[in-house]
């Protein structure tokens, strides 16, 4: 009986430890936004049985998570059009998925620009999450991409057309250099455990990294998808890897990691524990600037910009 009771105590303690959220340190700015340091929001555990390769840097914890408040457009009509900072969401209802911010970019100086489609605008935030200014664009943006430090290119949510605006909301003629610097590639899954990336074009400077072979080593998992996120100035590709239970019958075990490869094709770093419990699914989920990975995470209570420093 004593051994049985002791075993129960051990199990209960283990469960209590797993459910306790990591403590956060935070500061609240005057605008009400909160920057938290090194938190670990609820997310998926790393795939069991995975062993980091020698020389590969494994990153399990975020560097920061910038929190931006939201308001509900359909239950807070008095706040619509008022506050600068909060982003706008439409909550999920019967046969209607939630709507709201789905795209963002990071400006060269670390500021964020986030699409606020329900208010036909973009909002620029300081790196700490304080709203700096809004850019009225007269329509809902599905995708936003920075063009330098004072212009943005958007893709309309309602008709798919592309437009360039300065930060005052004045439409600009489309300019060269606004195109993605990521070279095109043929990405494919070769089998349940591996895939390949073969570059089919170069950057505007004529360079491109070496072709890649992507492997997952977890015996219980299968490779679900590969997507190129970016190729940085040092020719290092960043690849989003989705993996799931080997049976393929459920998506509940789905996990997502981001891997960075050297220009020569060697795995350099892997970011794990990437949360994928979005309330609103992002269209532009990741950005990479200066060796730092950013993720847009729209939740029902706030929009987060999660940050991992890889460098």
């Amino acid at each position: 009986m004593r051994a049985y009771g002791a075993a129960l105590c051990v199990i209960a303690a283990a469960v209590a430890g797993c459910s306790r959220e990591a403590p956060r340190s935070s500061s609240v700015t005057a605008s009400g936004t909160t920057t938290t340091s090194a938190p670990q929001p609820p997310g998926r555990s790393p795939s069991p049985g995975s062993t980091p390769q020698a020389g590969v840097r494994v990153i399990d914890a975020m560097t920061a998570s910038v929190k931006i408040p939201v308001v509900r457009i359909d239950t807070d009509p008095q706040t619509r059009g008022d506050a600068l900072g909060p982003l706008t969401i439409r909550i999920e209802r019967q046969d209607r998925e939630p709507e709201g911010p789905q795209s963002f970019d990071v400006l060269p100086d670390g500021r964020f620009v986030i699409a606020d489609p329900l208010r036909d605008r973009l909002v620029v935030y300081e790196p700490g999450g304080k709203a700096q200014r809004e850019i009225p664009i007269g329509g809902a943006a599905r995708v936003v991409a920075a063009v330098g430090s004072e212009a943005v290119r958007i893709v309309s949510a309602v008709d798919g057309t592309a437009h360039t605006f300065d930060f005052k909301g004045r439409e600009q003629p489309a300019t060269r250099g606004a195109e993605s610097q990521t070279p095109r590639a043929a990405v494919k899954l070769d089998d349940d455990r591996s895939g390949s990336v073969q570059w089919t074009s170069t950057r505007s400077d004529g360079r491109r990294p070496a072709d890649l072979r992507v492997l997952i080593d977890e015996a219980k998992n299968r490779l679900a998808s590969l997507q190129i996120i970016a190729v940085d100035e040092e020719q290092r590709p960043y690849i989003a890897v989705e993996a799931a239970d080997r049976s393929g019958r459920s998506l509940e075990s789905l996990s997502k990691t981001v891997r960075r490869y050297s220009p020569g094709g060697a795995l350099e770093a892997e970011v794990r524990k990437i949360p994928i419990d979005y309330y609103i699914v992002p269209v532009t989920e990741f950005r990479v600037v200066g060796g730092v990975l950013y993720q847009l995470m729209p939740r029902q209570d706030a929009v987060f910009i999660n940050v991992w420093t890889i460098k």
């Binding site: 457009i73 359909d74 439409r90 999920e92 209802r93 019967q94 046969d95 209607r96 998925e97 709507e99 789905q102 489609p117 809902a140 599905r142 949510a157 309602v158 008709d159 798919g160 043929a186 990405v187 494919k188 899954l189 895939g195 299968r222 490779l223 679900a224 998808s225 590969l226 997507q227 989003a240 989705e242 799931a244 049976s247 393929g248 019958r249 998506l251 509940e252 789905l254 997502k256 994928i276 419990d277 979005y278 699914v281």
Partner: protein, 219 residues
């Protein structure tokens, strides 16, 4: 009729009678798939493509919906749009959509504007109901009446016309797999205000969804 025997057991003849009655009842009940029309997958895809590719022009009258309080159109006058408009609660085919636009109805609406009788288009479940050739609209919560949850390998064995369903929220129609493992789906998107083909969608979008197959699907 005599009751149970003195030791409490049911007589054999009575048990046989009950079993026979049950067998007759089961045989007389048609299987669910027999009560839904057979639809070829190619036809499902053709309808979906027609709705996603449909081109129309928003007239001034289509910006208005007098029966909807605080109606806010997603369009502007003379805007050229590709894709039948998203209309919460709607289940309009292309032909019905064009007819109602010509009659001056509003082009689409969102859920917070309620189900209206003066707007036209289709919502996510209405779109799938049309593709599956239904005569009535099934919602995401009632799709189980005409479709079955799959237990196949979803990374390989989905077929065109299958769906990914999140009851109470959203449903999309599966089209194809991409070489990189992502998928392509047709959907009536509230966020994009119309029926669209969404390409290269990662699986993380569908973590809370279940794969379902229309009971009358024909390969």
């Amino acid at each position: 009729m005599s009751g149970p025997s003195s030791d409490g057991r049911v007589p054999v003849w009575r048990a046989c009678l009950l079993l026979a009655a049950a067998a007759i009842l089961v045989a007389a009940t048609p299987p669910l798939s027999a009560s839904v029309p057979a639809v070829a997958r190619a036809d499902m895809m053709a309808v979906a493509k027609e709705m996603a590719d449909h081109r129309w022009v928003c007239a001034a009258a289509n910006l208005l919906a007098p029966c909807v309080k605080n109606y806010r159109s997603a369009w502007h006058v003379n805007q050229r749009v590709t894709g039948v408009a998203y209309d919460w609660g709607g289940m309009d085919t292309v032909a019905a959509f064009d007819g109602k636009l010509a009659a001056g109805q509003g082009a689409g609406s969102h859920a917070d504007q309620g189900v209206s009788t003066c707007t036209t288009g289709a919502d996510c479940s209405g779109f799938v109901s049309i593709c599956w050739k239904q005569t009535q609209k099934f919602g995401t919560a009632t799709m189980s009446q005409i479709a079955t949850v799959l237990t196949v390998n979803i990374f390989r064995e989905l077929k065109p016309g299958d769906a990914l369903n999140k009851p109470g929220s959203h449903i999309v129609l599966f089209v194809s797999y991409n070489p990189d493992g992502t998928i392509n789906v047709y959907e009536a998107s509230g966020q994009r205000s119309r029926v669209v083909l969404s390409r290269g969608v990662p699986w993380s979008r569908f973590r809370s969804y279940a794969p379902i197959r229309y009971n009358g699907a024909v390969d």
